[in-house]
């Protein structure tokens, strides 16, 4: 029964109710800044815990990118794009030019998750099997695959891996990052989303 009613509510979370006024405000800017801060902490600690440098594997930062984008729309996407600059520098994972080249991947890793949830009307509280599928397929696997595709291209472009190593690096990166994204991201969506959607910072559209 619970599942049925939940299925019925899936996707309605994104609908702006009649009379509901939503506009970008200071709270969104603040939340973006706080999320960059969280990303710096999570990203740096993740990189220092498993210090394999510029190659991303078992990096929990992707979960922050995806979940932040789902909760806070474009503000979360922007936060996810920029926090790796600082976390990479602090952990010594990647120099600034490499971090800059990762920018499109960081954009994709957040954007794909939120776009999938909004377009496919998934509920970020992960109430139904459908919500889980959207999350795992787009928020975790596809997002990490596309991010890794770009990331490994950047690495070979900078000469940090050989061209022949791109495929194994791509697979290692995709699945290596998917594990923490899946565990960490799922827990955040499941347990923190109910709090987030009650807050003023939650974004139903793209900016508010």
């Amino acid at each position: 029964m619970a599942t049925n009613s939940a299925a019925g509510s899936s996707g309605r979370i994104w609908v702006v109710e009649e009379g509901e006024r939503r506009s970008p405000g200071i709270i969104h800017v603040v939340m973006m800044a706080l999320f960059i801060g969280i990303g710096i902490v999570v990203g740096t600690l993740g990189s220092l815990a498993i210090p394999i440098g510029f190659v991303s594997a078992f990096w929990p930062g992707q979960a922050v990118q995806a979940v932040g984008s789902i909760w806070f729309g474009a503000w979360g996407v922007i936060a996810g794009m920029f926090f790796p600059f600082i976390s990479n520098a602090m952990s010594g994972s990647a120099p600034i030019p490499v971090s800059a080249a990762y920018l499109p991947a960081n954009f994709i890793q957040g954007f794909l998750a939120v776009a999938a949830f909004k377009l496919l009307k998934g509920d970020p509280r992960l109430l139904t099997a459908r919500d889980w599928t959207i999350w795992v397929v787009f928020g975790v696997l596809v997002a990490n695959f596309v991010g890794a595709f770009w990331g490994t291209y950047v690495l070979s472009w900078f000469g940090l891996i050989t061209d022949q190593a791109r495929i194994p690096a791509l697979l290692g990166w995709t699945f290596g990052n998917s594990i923490p994204s899946l565990i960490f991201g799922s827990i955040l969506l499941k347990y923190v989303t109910p709090m987030v959607i009650r807050s003023k910072a939650f974004v139903k559209g793209w900016w508010a």
């Binding site: 200071i26 210090p51 891996i161 061209d163 022949q164 807050s199």
Partner: protein, 294 residues
């Protein structure tokens, strides 16, 4: 007196309480960051990048950075090197076109190994440039530097708030960990699965705290008259008091232009001549001779 007694903790790490770097305007220090972390991209010759690393370490010393604080990067240096050389060994490329070398019972291919070495040295040169910057600049210096480059106030303000919130979350994280340890939690005794679970459970309250803080901070910003546009109540241009307090002196102009000029020259020479190429490297040539290649 030991250097450590003069260190100051910042959100980004530890900086010396006093350093010759502080005599320079923050924007000049940004020029240091830019040049040190981007120049190696134009240089393949490892001995030049090694010289840049040596120079960076000289700057660490000159800047009175506590060298023991750099120890945390040791493991990273080793793992990155291992990763790069293992990748070059396992996935060398088209073997028919490569030069095999027998070394300690293994068949390696010289070109990918050489490239891994060259790239590793370059990467380290770039990384230590960034580490030097964060070891000699407080968050305020970063912001003043960015604002001097006319970055919009809102952007630099978000950057400052982000750094501040990173510090807050690190403190929260440390508090939660201390509380766990006070309750006799032995991290070493935990399995990897348990550690992952624990790490995740640490972070859920951090997110909950973030939501509360977002409300508090936005209320505080409203209370002090901040608007989304960042424009002042008078409608004119916003005064940037801190930026205006830092004055660019002659030495800042000289050093900044000197650094950027050097960078431009290196970039042009790199693109137009082979001076910085691997082929011009005596070090690589020496190793090739040693291995009987070429």
């Amino acid at each position: 007196m030991a250097r450590s007694e003069f260190a100051k903790k910042t959100l980004l790490g530890i900086v010396p309480a006093d350093s010759p770097f502080y005599a320079f305007h923050p924007v000049t220090r940004l020029a240091f960051l830019f040049v040190l972390s981007v120049t190696p991209m134009f240089i393949d010759r490892p001995e030049i990048n090694l010289a840049i690393i040596a120079m960076t370490f000289g700057l660490f010393w000159w800047g009175r950075v506590r060298m023991s604080d750099l120890k945390k990067y040791r493991l990273l240096l080793v793992t990155v090197a291992l990763f790069m050389f293992i990748v070059a060994y396992l996935a060398p490329g088209d073997k028919a076109q490569l030069t095999p070398v027998r070394l300690v019972g293994l068949t390696l291919y010289w070109e990918p190994m050489r490239w891994a070495f060259v790239s590793y040295v370059r990467l380290m040169a770039m990384l230590f440039g960034a580490i030097l910057y964060f070891s000699t600049n407080r968050e305020r210096d970063v912001l003043v530097g960015l604002r001097t480059l006319r970055l919009p106030f809102q952007v630099s303000y978000v950057a400052g708030l982000s750094l501040r919130s990173a510090g807050m979350f690190m403190e929260d994280f440390a508090t939660i960990r201390e509380a766990e340890q006070a309750r006799a939690l032995d991290l070493d005794a935990l399995s990897l699965r348990e550690k992952v679970k624990l790490y995740t459970m640490y972070t859920v309250p951090l997110f909950a705290v973030a939501l509360r803080r977002a409300d508090e901070i936005s209320a505080a910003l409203y209370a002090r008259g901040y608007t989304l546009s960042g424009r002042p109540g008078t409608g004119g241009k916003r005064t940037d008091y801190l930026r205006d307090k830092s004055v660019l002196r002659v030495r800042d102009w000289v050093v900044s232009f000197g650094l950027l000029g050097t960078f431009v020259v290196i970039a042009i020479v790199s693109r137009t001549t082979g001076v910085f190429s691997i082929q011009a490297s005596p070090l690589i040539g020496f190793v090739e001779q040693l291995l009987g290649i070429g």
